[in-house]
Symmetry: D3
Subunit: 263 residues, 6 copies
């Protein structure tokens, strides 16, 4: 059995600029025998963020195509790198033996081991309803103290990191003091690099969704390798028959990868 | 104000064969001043059914594109013609002033006015988990007596209508007698033409999802015309900014329509 | 098959003053082939509003008697014209082939097609608990952003319409800005005539419960005519046996109608 | 302060035949200083049972009138003697300082102190949906193992007590062995006199709803006397203003009592 | 059958100072034929309050030992005298024929008969999450208007009763006016002696948990005596086999009682 | 920063016989730089299994003591090695910077990444209610297809492993075919060594709770080391003040360890 855990990290946008900083971040924390491939998409036209359902709809098919590829290329785990977890259920159906992980689910699962109630710091009020539905679907509604928005859109989160951090600190303080949050989750993969300072300042665990999703993928990928705990394929987890996929030519085109770097 | 209610019915598959029989069915029950356009998709490759999440993922982007078109062409309402209601939330975000309707939601809303508890007759056990999640998301979990599968896949539902009807009768009887269902919903838009006989035989209301979704679209479309009850655009309902859509070129391509017939 | 949809609108009070303005409102929006009978009650003593459970209890038996009459006189649909939906489940049991509709359920079903979260503007704080229970029973608790009271009782809602409208605007603004409501429902059938201006001012859909309930009755009534989707009579929907009703003389008295006008 | 706890037991039917046996049953278990008045109704026409919502609707106004009387005559507690708990919320609004109790709520509250999961033995399948809604409204859905019907209507429950008991034993056994019930509740006040033998035979607690509701009324009535724990009158618990009640003449007629016996 | 109801009240701390005032309080309200034994614990080391889960964990085993003793000494009911209801489910398993009661469950069951929504006044914010979980487990989450903290720890509640009362009044007013509470529950057994004045001042029912739990124990204990409604021993309620208990020597040591006084 | 992740595995029984086989199992799958200490308890009297709440109550205080020790000895994570997860919330309060993990929570979190619905195979029907409550508390009730009992008590699970495996296979098949489970969880830490064969035979993921809990502890422990994601200490997560702990002498005795082996 191979000792290497192979993780495919997908930035589900047609925009490679975050591939390197995210890949570097993960490379800095990965286990010695983990191999990470970071990809972003080649499909056009695509937005550089997914704040709207409209945009997410545009990349769901690609998540399915990449899950198919992940299995074909024997990745242990694949991550859909957006906190809306777009296309997660779809990708999981077709991912074969590859475990599919996403930041929101990974973050709430970790947080629930560290605190009874947590808040999610989001960029814009717009996101609240949809993310709350995600949290509820994962079973963590009773742990959610609040969603608190900082009024900064995804494309601007890394523009002025001091400002973003200041706003997260402010929103986090309110979440803790008024909503009685006991831990915080940063609700966007583009707020990387800020959790440490927030955690130190506010004195509660602050979950960064990239670190959460990547390490969860590494962990679940290693379980797959060690115990063959790969995705179920019964009942609602059954994929389309191979013959039908080929008859329709569903996966005849190459995977929609624009950029791909190994770490 | 125009007196005509205009409905766009979308068959979310790359397969026009059902456009005519479904269009004919709706034409036979529509109000005099309703105009129906039935379309299916041109995107390739596409399956001829959506029994799998993998397939639905392939058409979600098209639902968004058609919702955008529906608004541009001033349809009062658009229907996503599959009982999984794929892409409903996404399409609703970008549909402008067009109301977006889908068969599962329409069917359970009608059924709840006629019975306290109903069952959904599905083609295959595979569908149960995902459809139950839909019913729960709409708030009707407490009305759901059961899901009962007849063991026939979508492409075969209209192949031997006598067999399909016999299986629906059998499953419906069990739903009524064992699960205490008081009404039935046929859980696939491809089981059209069978609800009357089942209703007559079993003596409970039997909701056909095409009739439910089409008339609900006609109804909500007429509310929009009469009272301007068009979709909210606040908070989670806000669409992407127009400038951004144009900058990304999101809707620069023509809508993915393969077949389009007016009734 | 008759082409006319016949709707019975019941004002469940012993007070005919609102029959004419409500009837006129509905007559102005009905389909050409719809016939509306508006009635109020003759039972005495009766209040002129139903803000208290005590008062509703006094008219529940009449709702049952009128539902019985609605079936006997072959109405397609009957509406219980109060936003508490008093006696809805009881009337539905005995309404035979007539569909029974009520404003709260109709309003939330429509609103859920237009927005993810809505608030209900109520007259007095007193109403909140009971109406929330209604909304929960219909399955829409997760869509309810808030209840906001304007501090005006039912008998005064039409006394100074400018004041009422101003208060609704104020409460609606708070519901939208603080509670993140995306649509509004006016929580009393006696606030008619105000939704248009509120909708225009606040820029979100504002559902008037008379328009919602009447058009839903017209719609469901037409489904009954077209597809025979009349109420289930199985299990919890079964009515008392006719022989028993006659033995007890339950419906031997004439229906408790005080005023009856056709539109 | 009076040492006597006064309980008003209402048989909500126009049928006095059960007044004496029920009164005798309660008299046999009451505390020395408890005084019980058993009444049935004089309103006509009325059924002799309430298996249908239609019938319950006919007596809800009377429950309100009797609750008003209970307060006027200074009863500590009043019981609505039917396991559907008809009109409970309405009566509670107008009962002044009298606590209003009903059999279903009393039974589930007691049972939850004795077992984690219980089943309710009902007469007919018809009752299941409505009673389950009651149990859910009281917060005990998670304790409900099942409802099991014995196929005997209310008027026949006391006709052949051996048969009824045999059927309860049979249904109870299934509830325990198949549904894993740990206690049973008899779901009709007309199945009195049978709980002892069922309890002895089946070896689990068997709650009789008359004993449950009467003793709960005696208990809560004594709390009222001792600690002035009478019903709240704030917010949703506020009754109509006295001036309005008199203006409408709501309670001008004498209470609808057909039979009244003290125990 | 004995006419005396025997209640064992356990103060689950190694601190007898409250035994006398609590015993006196109960003695003043008990029925003539009720006998109360108040005990506190001898286990060491023990805290004098249970504000922390850490402390509760230390006394759970003692609750089990005392429940065992309660059965052996034929108490009708035992009360675990802390509003966290620590060890309630555990004690119920081994209590044989003794009914085990606890303040939080007793209080919410009583309150739900008097009001639709109530708030719990707690000492410190720390308690909120755990107590809310209790309330939810008992099925009363929908009745809970809020938890409001007064900022006083358990050991200080009786130090300056005027201050404590003032704070309860202040928190209670906010609960009523802002959270729309219709009744209040005092969320600690150490706030005894204050409910009357709060109730008089605020005009809503104010439930004292000692009075609630003690009288509920007296009531349920009397049901046990009269109707043999003792705890179920089926399925999840089954205790360990006697042989096994003896083989392990589980109850070989004497019960951990430090102080024991009869009232 | 230390590179070694240190895990404390607690067998919460006074019975060291399983320490070695469990330790060996974990040693075989651990990461190279993980250090495992397996302990069982010295407290007497203690049972050799925890099938009853009575027994669990006896060891909850020890879980708190060991969590205190785990922090003092700088373990990264501690596991409470019983599928009831006894004392988990209590231990988490006092564990300082050590993450506390338990088998049921770990198993359902992993399973939810691999399947939409899973069943838990339990030893005896007795366990079902309590374990279902655990699963619900963690938020996974909607994922639970069923609990299926094999009729073997904890002390016998390893006596005849062939028999146990055969029973698990039988129960697992029913769970999959009848309850539509898509994955299985073995609901007892004493069923170790059987998941592989069951997984191979039944073709769905089969989660062994020791492997799940140990690897989750290793994973969360490594997160603590890398990102300082240690338990929150705000609000409901706050531990007792150190001064108070010392004043009461709560942790003055040595930890209740009977056997301790390093792997």
């Amino acid at each position: 059995m191979s000792q290497t855990t192979r993780v495919l990290w997908v930035n589900p946008v047609g925009y490679p600029d975050y591939d390197a900083p995210m890949g570097g971040l993960m490379a800095g924390v990965k286990a010695a025998d983990t191999e990470i491939d970071v990809v972003s998409l080649s499909t056009a036209p695509l937005p550089n963020h997914l704040e709207y359902r409209t945009y997410e709809a545009l990349i769901v098919a690609d998540m399915v195509r990449l899950a198919r590829m992940a299995d074909a290329e024997a990745y242990d785990a694949m991550v859909i790198g957006c906190f809306y977890d777009p296309g997660l259920e779809d990708a999981r159906e077709i991912s074969g033996r590859t475990v599919v992980v996403a930041p929101c689910q990974a973050s709430v699962q970790i947080a629930a081991n560290l605190a009874n109630r947590f808040s999610i710091i989001i960029g814009q009020e717009k996101w609240a309803v949809q993310m709350r539905e995600r949290v509820e679907a994962y079973g963590y509604a009773h742990n959610l103290a609040s969603m608190r928005a900082i009024g900064i859109g995804v494309p601007d989160l890394q523009k002025d990191c001091e400002l973003t951090t200041a706003r997260i600190l402010e929103a986090g303080r309110i979440a803790i003091e008024e909503d009685k949050a006991e831990a915080l989750i940063l609700g966007c993969t583009c707020s990387f690099g800020m959790n440490e300072i927030v955690q130190r300042e506010l004195g509660v665990p602050v979950i960064d969704p990239i670190l959460a999703a990547f390490t969860m993928a590494e962990y679940l990928g290693s379980l797959r390798r060690r115990f063959d705990w790969s995705p179920s394929r019964r009942w609602s987890c059954a994929p389309p028959p191979e013959a039908e996929l080929q008859a329709f030519g569903i996966f005849s085109a190459p995977p929609p990868i624009g950029n791909r770097v190994r770490y």
